[in-house]
Assembly symmetry: C2
DNA sequence: AAAACCCTAATTGTCTGACATTACTTTTTC
DNA sequence: GAAAAAGTAATGTCAGACAATTAGGGTTTT
């Protein structure tokens, strides 16, 4: 790797690892370092940047945390530019989205609205293109949700699985990736809700409506089902939160 | 901080920094460490986890790379749990999305479809709630786009600004955050397109249609405009990539 | 009494040198 | 020729040191 491809010289004697990480990150983003290319060894980078190996390592760990590089030990090892997979990107996005919601006092209403708006965007595509296994997953999850012995957490998890199958039915990996954050990040908020047998029934009925619409390739009906489900969820949440603020409730 | 809040003991003598980072990350996610809480000092963490300070530092740098913590020097300094801001989350999401698209041979068609599907999801909300300044930005950007002296890059940048104003009009920060990745990550792909005066005119006309619909609070018309704009963009891209067909087109 | 100054302690940031571990390559041995 | 052994280069970890920064307390000065 050419030294010219590693950005401007480092001026300040502080935050060196951040500067070095930014330098390498930029090189990756602009394409000066291509996928699977091996970076210089830590020893060589420490010479190039004129810092200690410890500092270089801190910079590399920053990049590794963002899945930008991977490292391998051994004689032919080193740090390699990572091809960011949809899976890794999704995992990061879910973590970030979840923390964002939990730390910023985002109302249930706002998050829920965003989620269903985005899902409605997928519905027509999913109705068009869904494969058999998407329908199968949706049906299976509905089946599971009907089990009265399910805990609220398990019910929510199944709900997420149902909706992910709906989104994946659009057969657009970019869409699936973007939606993963919105859908999964809602789960902790949904877990705050106690689902009565009655509200579960309402949700399951709407899930059936949506699955039927997707199977019948009726995107408009699927969207309508999602709208109804959003309304149901919002009502449910309002009731739960109202009850909690009215009387001191144990967790 | 209680040692019990830092996860299971570390077994393997490799990837220690990753394990420690995961341990602390989990503590933050489940809420055992709250925003602005100070982590134990590096020296104390190295005792708790029974590793060297260098290893602890590598773990902390991983967390810092994800904006999960910030550090401060000095007597009362240390590492503090960061409140993830929408801005920081957006920046990360844009970086990840951009790299994801450039590294994974995602077709222009797929990315474009995802983007416009998501934008259509925002259109009805934006039509309902947009404020004056959203409309102003949209109009201003359309004005700018009409300047024939604009480079293709500047035209694309203005296009992004227009669409972000449209999305922000929905007044839902979660939606804005999710969409930022989809819209901005497209920019490098859009930059591969040469915009003739004629194609610019077509785009600007559609932008006007959309802005008019948003101003008139007609969500359906705005959606229709977006659909037309998507078709126009796809046609444009197909033409450009077909002309370049000498070599198999990446992206 | 208030302000300016200095000193100290705590903490992160960096450096150095060493050893352990890993995995590929080369050489040796059978 | 195949298996075993040695060599080698890289990351992973450790220990100890010093520099830089910052808050707080104590002292002196005004």
């Amino acid at each position: 790797m050419n030294i010219d491809r590693l950005g401007p010289p480092l001026d300040q004697r502080a935050d060196l690892s951040a500067q070095i990480a930014a330098s390498i990150r930029d090189a990756i983003i602009i394409g000066a370092l291509i996928v699977d290319e091996r970076l210089p060894s830590e020893a060589e980078l420490s010479l190039r940047f004129d810092v200690s190996r410890a500092t270089v390592r801190e910079a590399l760990k920053r990049l590794a945390a963002q899945s930008l590089i991977r490292t391998q030990r051994g004689a032919t090892g080193g740090a390699f530019v990572n091809r960011i997979s949809f899976e890794a990107a999704q995992a990061q996005q879910i973590t970030t989205s979840t923390l964002l919601l939990s730390m910023n006092d985002v109302s249930f209403e706002t998050a829920c609205e965003a989620r269903y708006a985005l899902e409605r965007a997928c519905a027509p595509l999913s109705a068009d293109r869904r494969h058999l296994h998407h329908l199968t997953v949706m049906r299976d999850e509905i089946e599971r949700q009907a089990d009265a012995g399910l805990t609220d957490e398990a019910f929510c998890a199944s709900d997420v699985a149902f909706h992910r199958a709906l989104v994946d039915g659009a057969c657009n990996p970019v869409l699936s990736y973007q939606l993963a954050g919105a859908v999964e990040a809602m789960q902790p908020l949904m877990n705050m809700i106690t689902f009565t047998a009655r509200s579960r029934d309402a949700i399951i009925t709407l899930h059936r409506t949506i699955a039927d619409a997707i199977e019948a390739q009726d995107g408009q009906a699927a969207s309508a089902g999602l709208t109804a489900l959003e309304a149901e969820t919002q009502t449910l949440a309002r009731r739960v939160f109202a009850r909690r603020s009215g009387s001191p409730t144990p967790l």
